[in-house]
């Protein structure tokens, strides 16, 4: 065995791609080298913005191998005189050997040698000598490089002489270290000239490169390595930290003392890790005059634009920031001055926008929305706002989902929810949409708290976790008002795009429709607080209303759009449940329940699911049996439920027993858990029913009766969960 080392030296690769690429490198090498019988083992990978590195142990030479190849049947291989026939000589010729190398099978069919034992066939034992790994690795490298998948590949006019020619890649490759046991594995990348091979541009060798600029005065010198560990060590001495874990640790070491002042790290430290080769964290200050800007604005400037980490002072306002640099801290002060200048320029802009925007009441801006496109074919945001208001109208008076106060508040919120899109601030910082609307309403006064909250949060929920925003931010009726505006917006978006036929595929969802649908689902199961006596929102009815609201904008028949959208929403509902840890079969069971079904009341479905999970865990065996039994029952009934039931026609005790239990349970009350536990007791009677009773009796009345009994038993479950899905 020997160590194989590959370092691909590149121009800066997008940080978000690196980890995935390194993983691919490892997996692909294992497959490709394995296929070439190099027996790869002990693979290790590392990466930094300008390099992907792989180390592995492989054999120096493939093992010699033997393969038994079958030829013609023995019966036709020799003629009656014992001479080889044409069939045999032809086979030998094909194998490239003389006929006396062929092996006749033994009399009773026991063949000689390894390999498939084709009884009765002439065989040839093909011996292949193992080739040296150094001859095979160049081919492995080219296959490996070509196998890497990038979100975007670029043409850099490169060419590999492996028969495939043109070689696009993620970024141009500038150097390549390829060694086997310290010896160079020859590999060359050429330039592509006029569709053919040009001059060599990258030739494999021992040499890697360190940091671009450090150590000062000595950067740019060639560094020779012969192993993975030497690569790591020498690069470290040249200000390149190859191991991402070590880069991360270096970053965390500086941040830990600031931990109490970091409200939310926005995932930046993880991002920083792959942005630089030699991470050093520096700290800058935000001048006092800008600290009074809304925190969201400061955070957007720092985080989204600059990838700087906001740091608060004692009173929770942001007064400093942390940033990562790709150098040491020798000139930190000067660098930080530069960074502060950039931040201040943006904050100054923001302060200007803030002041200007406040001069005009937010509500006055609604008419300006006519100039902001939602979608070329779906009109402006003014059009969208009008559709949202109509949907809220449905929810209120028509469907009775909102109280009068809630309806008013939701309408007021929807009317201004999009108005901030016309402000200077949101035009400059689109991430602040929603949040700025609320900030301006608050600053200008005159709006109720629940309206402001609805505007602030209506783009949410953006993620599906139970604790994700706006969890904990809204109470009671506020949550319903927020929910109304949020759903109105999202359902209008969904109905609009579905009406145009722009439905997400497995690989493409450019309009974020999955997230929108998940948001709708989450509002209904996590936030909508229906007080006693209020009806819960029916997705079915709201979808119909949203689609109807599209009017002539839709290019497809409404019934089709509705059907597609319902399927899509159910699919997202399933996804949310599964993501929350529910077993897929339990989700299906809960979704299969009726009266109301999942589309009529998703919240009810959630309650059923939770109950089912708990009770099933307690009585797993019972449910297992019931599942099987009911699957059977469903099959027998095959969709033709029988209403008829005449106890006089019972012949067996098992029938009477089952009937008794079903009748008792039908009258039972209580929550889903109680009912499910009670239903679990059906196991015995159902098992005995199927054991003792022939359902498909000859007498049609008896048969119908038995089917009727099963229907009634099934019906008990349909109001909770379709237990047959657990089988």
């Amino acid at each position: 065995m020997a160590e194989f080392l590959l370092e691909i030296g590149l121009e800066e690769i997008p940080a978000s791609w690196l980890e995935g690429l390194a993983g691919q490198l490892k997996a692909q090498f294992e497959t490709i080298a394995g296929r070439e019988l190099l027996e790869p083992a002990d693979l290790e990978i590392a990466w930094a913005p300008r390099r992907l590195a792989l180390g592995a142990r492989v054999v120096k030479k493939q093992k010699d191998r033997e393969e038994e190849i079958s030829g013609p049947p023995a019966t036709i291989a020799k003629d009656k005189d014992g001479n080889w026939t044409v069939a045999a000589t032809g086979f030998a010729k094909k194998m490239g050997v003389s006929v006396d190398q062929l092996i006749m099978p033994a009399a009773h069919g026991t063949a000689i040698g390894p390999g498939p034992h084709d009884i009765g066939k002439v065989t040839y034992l093909k011996k292949t000598a193992g080739r040296p790994a150094i001859d095979i690795l160049p081919g492995v490298i080219s296959t490996l490089l070509r196998s890497l998948a990038f979100p975007k590949r670029m043409n850099w006019d490169a060419w590999i002489d492996d028969g495939k020619g043109a070689f696009p890649f993620g970024r141009p490759i500038r150097w390549l270290v390829a060694l086997l046991g310290g010896e160079v594995v020859p590999f060359t990348i050429y330039s592509a000239k006029d569709g053919a091979r040009g001059e060599a541009v990258v030739v494999s060798g021992h040499a890697t490169r360190g940091h671009r600029f450090l150590p000062r005065g000595q950067a740019g010198q060639s560094i020779s390595v012969s192993s993975f560990s030497e690569l790591e060590a020498k690069l470290a001495s040249r200000y390149v930290i190859l191991d991402p874990a070590e880069r991360e640790a270096r970053i965390q070491r500086t941040l830990v003392p600031q931990a109490s002042r970091i409200r939310d790290d926005h995932g930046l430290p993880a991002e920083w890790r792959d942005l630089v080769e030699y991470p050093t964290v520096v700290f800058g200050t935000i001048p006092a005059e800008f600290r009074t800007l809304p925190t969201e604005v400061i955070e957007t400037v720092l985080v989204h634009h600059q990838k700087y980490l906001p740091i608060t002072n004692g009173s929770r306002s942001v007064d400093r920031f942390a940033a990562v640099v790709n150098t040491d801290d020798a000139n930190a002060a000067e660098i930080v001055r530069g960074m502060e200048r950039v931040v201040v320029a943006r904050l100054r802009d923001a302060a200007f926008f803030f002041e200007e925007d406040l001069k005009r009441p937010l509500a006055d801006r609604s008419s300006d929305l006519a100039g902001v496109t939602f979608h070329q074919k779906l009109g402006s945001y003014k059009d969208k706002t009008e559709r949202m208001l109509r949907l809220i109208e449905e929810m209120g008076p028509k469907l009775g989902l909102l109280t009068k106060t809630e309806h008013e508040a939701a309408g007021e919120a929807a009317a201004v929810a999009k108005a901030d899109l016309t402000t200077l601030m949101v035009r400059e910082f689109p991430e602040l949409q929603g949040a700025m609307g609320a900030i301006y309403l608050r600053a200008q006064g005159g709006s109720r708290g629940d309206v402001i909250h609805a505007v602030q949060w209506h783009y949410h929920p953006l993620s599906i976790e139970v604790g994700a925003a706006p969890a904990g931010e809204l109470t009671g009726g506020e949550a319903t008002i927020f929910g109304a505006v949020s759903i109105a917006d999202k359902l209008d978006t969904l109905a609009g795009y579905f009406g145009l036929g722009l439905i997400p595929t497995g690989s493409s969802d450019p309009f974020g429709l999955r997230r929108a649908a998940q948001g709708v689902v989450r509002v209904l199961i996590d936030f909508w607080a229906a007080a006693d006596g209020e009806r819960r929102p029916s997705l079915r009815k709201l979808v119909a209303a949203a689609v109807a609201g599209q009017g002539s904008l839709s290019k497809r028949p409404p019934a089709e759009v509705i059907a597609d959208l319902e399927t899509f929403l159910l699919d997202r509902l399933r996804y949310v449940f599964v993501s929350r840890g529910y077993a897929a079969d339990e989700v299906d069971a809960a979704l299969g329940a009726r009266e109301p079904d999942a589309l009529d009341d998703p919240k009810e479905c959630a309650l059923r699911l939770a109950a089912l999970k708990r009770v099933r865990a307690e009585a797993a065996e019972d449910f297992g049996h019931l599942a099987v039994a009911f699957k059977r029952a469903k099959n027998i009934l095959s969709g033709a439920p029988q209403p008829v039931l005449d106890p006089a026609l019972f012949e067996h005790d098992a029938e009477r027993e089952l009937h008794a239990v079903v009748t008792r349970l039908a009258g039972a009350s209580g929550g889903y858990e109680t009912r499910l536990r009670a239903l679990a007791t059906l196991r015995g009677p159902v098992d005995r029913f199927f054991d003792d009773v022939l359902v498909m009796a000859e007498d049609e009345h008896v048969r119908a009766n038995r089917l009727g009994l099963l229907t009634q038993a099934l019906a008990l479950f349909y109001r909770v969960a379709d237990v047959s899905r657990l089988a």
Binding site: E11, E12, P14, A15, K152, M154, N155, W156, D157, P172, R174, W175, L176, V177, V184, P186, T188, S191, A192, G195, E199, A200, V201, V203, S204, G205, A207, R209, R212, F213, L214, R216, G217, A219, G220, S222, L275, V276, Q306, V325, N326, T327, A330, N331, E334, I335, G338, M339, R341, V342, A345, R348, F352, G371, V372, T373, F374, Q376, G379, S380
Partner: protein
């Protein structure tokens, strides 16, 4: 920290002696024997100049000298309204086809929607770019770029210089590329792009495009917070040169521009462009491109004026794009015309083969 105004009258051009001392960093990569590995191209062994360009015009001279020394033809700005250096025929048309080319030029770039009446210290109706095209891109193109920073007295080792992912696209030109924004201590100073397509045509060879933001870099070098405080020439500020223009053009753009006129002109410019492309001699694509650029500027004026409705926008952009792509196709067709093409008549003359 503002520099005191210079009172000594310096001869224009006298301060750029130092860039001439810079050693050419553009060495051809050594063609190593198999197994030897190519010697990595030297990273910026250029000694940072002790004297930074003191004025905006010195900055321009420094960049022109640096890239001129690397084989770039130093050209002049396009003499019509454009939004970026990319739109100059020296970029848009030169990147097409197989002929190598190297060029560098200043390009004042108009973005009507960015006008701020001369009040914003960072944003301008018209800013200046320095545009470099290297076709094909040399193996050490990044190092050559970093060498240019050193030639400006910016020692990358004393700063945080980073290449951060940023791809670039021009829907009106049917062009896009892959590359980075170069950050200097958090400030974006250059767009660095490998062109992949122009006029809807896949490029082969590709071109490296390096676009410097001159005002930004100058503000950094001169350590000023307000663009209007930049020293353009000794004793002359940016304000003296451009403030009034910024005010008037912003006002025109947001308040005075006649939308109906521009809408009419937009269509007429396109029509004239298409008419020229019908030339039976097939030698009018450069003339046609002129009109394509005019239509693009008309669109920008309409856009800043708020005169483009939501449903029209994509369609108008498509119209410009169609003409741009037709110009590109005509240009490629012409360049691939057989022998009989006079030297110097098309893009990519012998002198520029690099």
């Amino acid at each position: 920290m503002k520099r005191p105004a210079k009172t000594t009258a310096k001869k224009v051009g006298a301060t750029h002696a130092s860039p001439l001392r810079t050693r050419r960093a553009a060495r051809k990569p050594a063609r190593g024997r198999v197994g030897a590995g190519l010697k990595p191209a030297p990273t910026t062994r250029v000694t940072p100049t002790p004297v930074r360009p003191r004025t905006l015009q010195d900055l321009v001279f420094a960049l022109q000298t640096y890239w001129g020394a690397r084989g770039c033809l130093i050209h002049q700005p396009w003499d019509g309204e454009v939004g970026a250096g990319t739109m100059h025929p020296e970029t848009f048309l030169r990147v097409l086809g197989p002929k190598p080319w190297k060029v560098g030029y200043v390009q004042p770039s108009r973005r009507p929607a960015d006008g701020r009446y001369g009040d914003n210290p960072n944003r301008l109706y018209k800013h200046q770019q320095f545009q470099v095209i290297l076709k094909p891109p040399p193996v050490d193109i990044q190092d050559q770029y970093l060498g240019s920073l050193a030639a400006l007295g910016i020692d990358p080792a004393r700063h945080d210089v980073r290449f951060e992912e940023d791809n670039w696209e021009s829907p009106t030109l049917g062009a896009w590329g892959i590359g980075w924004q170069v950050l200097l201590d958090g400030q974006e100073i250059t767009q660095f792009t490998y062109f992949q397509q122009a006029g809807g045509i896949d490029l082969s060879p590709i071109s490296g495009e390096i676009t410097y933001g001159l005002e930004r870099i100058a503000m950094y070098l001169q350590d000023v917070d307000n663009v209007y405080d930049l020293e353009w020439a000794p004793g002359v500020r940016y304000r003296d040169v451009r403030h009034e223009e910024e005010y008037q053009l912003s006002r025109y753009s947001f308040e005075q521009a006649d939308a109906a006129l521009h809408r009419d002109l937009f269509e007429k410019y396109l029509a004239e462009g298409w008419r020229l492309l019908e030339d039976p001699k097939k030698r009018s694509f450069l003339a046609a491109y002129d009109w394509c650029l005019k239509s693009s500027h008309a669109f920008n004026v309409l856009d800043a004026r708020g005169a483009i409705s939501v449903s029209e926008r994509a369609g108008l952009i498509l119209k410009i794009r169609k003409l741009a792509c037709a110009v590109a196709a005509a240009c490629v067709e012409h360049a691939s015309a057989g022998p009989g093409e006079a030297a110097g008549s098309g893009p990519g003359t012998e002198a520029q083969r690099g």
